[in-house]
Subunit: 244 residues, 2 copies
């Protein structure tokens, strides 16, 4: 009976988010149902975090303790045989008992994908945000610099939900030019509720020339949600990886 | 009343291919239905070619002659308002009467997307082919060189369907490394039925070491379908663009 770490990819389009909710199709429910079929008893999983409805993951992490020893050690293929096509285990490791998917996470990286077009593009439906092509990507790159470091991100949190500490450290934030789209990539020690989506809305205001890149400094200082940009849609956000 | 050229993007997943078929959901039907709503009469469109069920397009081209003059000149947004989210007009131009989407096409470029993984990846479902990670991309790149030029592609056609001329010119063929996947990109003056998908199957045999890159020369010379690789799935093929 081992502690197992799973790395999971999912297309969030047809899920009501990560966390189990009665009567709803969630990623966690699909994973726990698959494990129950394998171990023949209920298995509780512990995730690095939750994602909202529509959010995707390329490398979400969770762990569980095996309720019994199987005849053949567990592997990704075995679990995947019990999973639907929109969620799959892409990595599996036996880990030490000190590993905890949530509490020992050191860094998380998110992607927010966007593309420049005057019309909606079907192949980006539920996958990337459309932005008009008169946006200044250079200014958005410059604004990213001001996010890096330890800051109080009160201006970038949707609702405070009982949390009292809004200080987070951003290790890196940048815009990556991909084939026919862009990726805003951000790595931090943790993220507040809707934080990446609100940062993205703020960066788009920079790209559109509504605010200047250096205004990001003032928005952080203000500690006021009203100063930051709109919350961008969930369906273009991806949890890329969690590092321990 | 003008001749209009449309550039169209579609996600082929939920279409029974491009061409109108009674009782089936096709790209052509959606486009002609949208135009009929705008012009209030049936509108016949002429496409650069057909794609099979599941095949996607980033830049399919078609033309039609306006049956009447509208009060306000037609534009992409007007047509898109009558189209579902999985097919959209991404470009629209008024063209000369000598333009014909099918007969004046000079070059077509296709993409075939694949990714390396031991397990299926949900975000590539219906979008890219999974290939095991022990494949040699370098050898696949080398094999591409032998496709370039004017050749008889009889070995790479699914069924002969009345055609007698199997000679086509390939202007370029290469493997592009994208963010977390690869693209096989091929440009030619025309393609036979299933030709790109059979070439892809042959390149995968090269990558797996089943055949050597230079064996592509012999396969072309053989003019025998049995010598080439399997037909790879439709859902990872994209019509990228048509040049005139």
């Amino acid at each position: 009976m081992e502690r197992i770490k799973l790395i999971v990819e999912y297309d969030g389009t047809n899920f009501c988010g990560y966390q189990v909710q009665p009567g709803k199709r969630t990623v966690e429910k699909e994973l726990e149902d698959a494990l129950e079929k394998i171990y023949q008893v209920k298995v509780k999983t512990f995730a690095s975090g939750r994602t909202d409805a529509g959010v995707h993951a390329l490398g979400a992490v969770l762990h569980y303790d095996e309720p019994k020893t199987l005849k053949k050690p567990i592997n990704a293929q075995t679990i995947n045989a019990f999973l639907p096509s929109d969620v799959k285990v892409v990595g599996l490791e036996v880990v030490d008992d000190t590993f905890d998917a949530r509490f020992t996470a050191k860094k998380k990286t998110y992607w927010y994908k966007f593309y420049l077009s005057r019309v909606e593009r079907p192949l980006f439906e539920n996958r990337a945000l459309r932005v008009n092509d008169n946006i200044d990507i250079g200014k958005m790159c410059e604004a990213c610099k001001y996010l890096i470091g330890e800051h109080d991100f009160t201006s970038f949190v949707a609702r405070k939900s009982g949390k009292t500490n809004f200080v987070r450290t951003i290790f890196d934030a940048k815009i990556i030019a991909a084939h026919d789209y862009y990726i805003f990539e951000i790595t931090g020690n943790g993220f507040l509720y809707n934080m990446v989506r609100i940062i993205m809305g703020t960066l788009i205001n920079v790209g559109k020339g509504i605010i200047e890149p250096s205004d990001v400094i003032q928005i952080i200082k203000a500690k006021n949600r009203a100063k930051a940009g709109k919350t961008m849609p969930a369906n273009s956000l991806y949890l890329l990886k969690v590092e321990y």
